[in-house]
């Protein structure tokens, strides 16, 4: 039971604008693994992420969540997806944005914990500043603070390292490895490769390959 994969893809194929993004893509992902989606811009990384997150329905093939299904659970319950755009409203402060985001996942905002996470990400003092006044990198870091504030078993991160400096990258990398060590499955898309044994899905060379 505990060895059931968290996520399984069988013969996924997807097209956009008359271009094949990937074809007959199959992979099996288990708890504790880190997967990198690699490929040039426009190769289909975001589309694949959105398919896994349940946002994009125009694909053929099968996507299944064996572990969740065996427990008769809704696979969405254990999934968090942080997309390409920040998902934050610029009129609201980081704390206000996080409060709503956590409420979507039926979680209360623990202000102290949130402030701690934001401080860790170098945003101390910005907790109650409207997001409009933050830079792109800071905005991204607010969204990434969820890595510390929610307990999920599947994480989908689209370009998490964009607009981060070297310290920020190291911080996020460390957190991702922590999450994986604690049994989560992490899928992220980036040109950057997390050190260690990250599995890879390469898109953009025809059908896509799993390494």
């Amino acid at each position: 039971m505990t060895d059931l994969p968290l996520l399984q893809a069988d013969q996924l194929s997807c097209e956009r604008d008359d271009r094949v993004l990937f074809e007959a893509l199959s992979f099996v992902a288990h708890a504790g693994q880190i997967w990198q989606l690699a490929g040039a811009n426009g190769a289909g990384k975001t589309t694949l992420m959105r398919i896994i997150a349940g946002l994009h329905g125009d694909f053929s093939g099968r996507l299944s969540w064996p572990a969740a299904q065996a427990r008769n659970e809704d696979p969405r319950q254990q999934l968090l997806s942080i997309g390409h755009r920040s998902g934050l409203r610029s009129e609201l402060t980081p704390l206000e944005n996080l409060r709503w985001w956590l409420a979507l996942h039926q979680a209360e905002l623990d202000v102290a914990k949130a402030e701690q996470a934001l401080a860790l990400l170098g945003l101390a003092g910005y907790e109650t500043v409207p997001v409009a006044q933050l830079s792109a990198g800071q905005t991204r870091r607010v969204a990434l603070s969820l890595l510390w504030l929610l307990d999920k078993s599947v994480w989908l991160l689209d370009e998490p390292f964009t607009a981060l400096d070297a310290d920020g990258v190291a911080l996020i990398e460390g957190r991702l490895r922590e999450l994986a060590d604690n049994g989560a499955l992490v899928l992220y898309s980036s040109h950057h490769r997390v050190n260690g044994e990250a599995r890879q899905i390469r898109l953009g060379n025809g059908p896509g390959e799993v390494l």
Binding site: R50, A53, G54, L55, H56, G57, D58, D74, R76, Q77, L79, S81, G83, H84, R85, S86, G87, L88, R89, S90, E91, L92, E96, R99, W100, W101, A103, L104, H105, Q106, P130
Partner: protein
């Protein structure tokens, strides 16, 4: 929990962007004021067209405001967060509609009697106008939201939204303006008011499901 959180968020967002509340209200008043200028300031004439004028103006004001219901969330990526979250979309959508009515519909309801008075509507009818607009604005917001959910990812937005939604507004307009005319003539109004109430309940309970489906379609599902 999601309901209150979303409601709070919407009210907070409106507080930070007051133009969203004030603009539709100004529009409502100005459009209504154009009719005496464009038609005639004669009291009897104005009293006859008053129900229709106030309703059409309210309808257009709601239509304009509803276009932005999901746009900012869509552009910022918050909509995708909402869609990939593990809960039923019905609840947060309902919260958004309730918030939108409180922020846009309610001011129209409060100002409508004043406009009715300015158009020389008899006082018996002004009370009915208030109740009718109170019952009609939620319906208009609910139906408008369905259109907004289908056009949120499109650039053409506003005008297209109007094309889609205006035919669907005909029943509310007909019954809403009709009941006020009835009242002005001294005819019984409870039947039509009950009909308006039924439409409001039906649309407000059913629309969130259609809106949720529309949002999923617009984001590519």
């Amino acid at each position: 929990m999601t309901f209150t959180a979303t409601l709070q968020r919407e009210l907070l967002l409106a507080w930070r962007r007051p133009a969203e509340i004030i603009n539709p209200l100004f529009f409502f008043v100005m459009v209504t004021a154009l009719f005496p200028l464009g038609v005639s300031p004669q009291p009897e004439l104005l009293a006859t067209i008053a129900p229709g004028v106030v309703w059409v103006a309210a309808l257009l004001a709601v239509l304009l405001s509803v276009d932005g219901l999901f746009r900012a969330d869509h552009d910022s990526g918050a909509l995708e967060q909402l869609l990939s979250a593990p809960q039923n979309l019905y609840v947060p959508v309902l919260a958004k509609l309730v918030a939108h009515w409180l922020l846009t519909g309610l001011p129209l309801v409060l100002v409508a009697p004043l406009l009715g008075y300015m158009l020389h509507l008899p006082s018996a009818a002004i009370g009915v106008l208030f109740v009718a607009v109170l019952l009609g604005t939620p319906t208009m917001i609910a139906i408008g939201a369905i259109g907004a959910s289908l056009t949120v990812s499109l650039r053409s937005g506003g005008i297209l939204l109007s094309l889609l939604v205006l035919p669907l507004y005909v029943p509310v307009l007909v019954f809403g303006a009709g009941v006020v005319s009835y009242a002005a003539k001294g005819l019984p109004v409870s039947g039509v008011l009950a009909l308006l109430a039924a439409m409001m309940l039906a649309s407000f309970t059913l629309a969130p499901a259609a809106v949720a489906a529309g949002l999923r379609i617009s984001t590519g599902n």
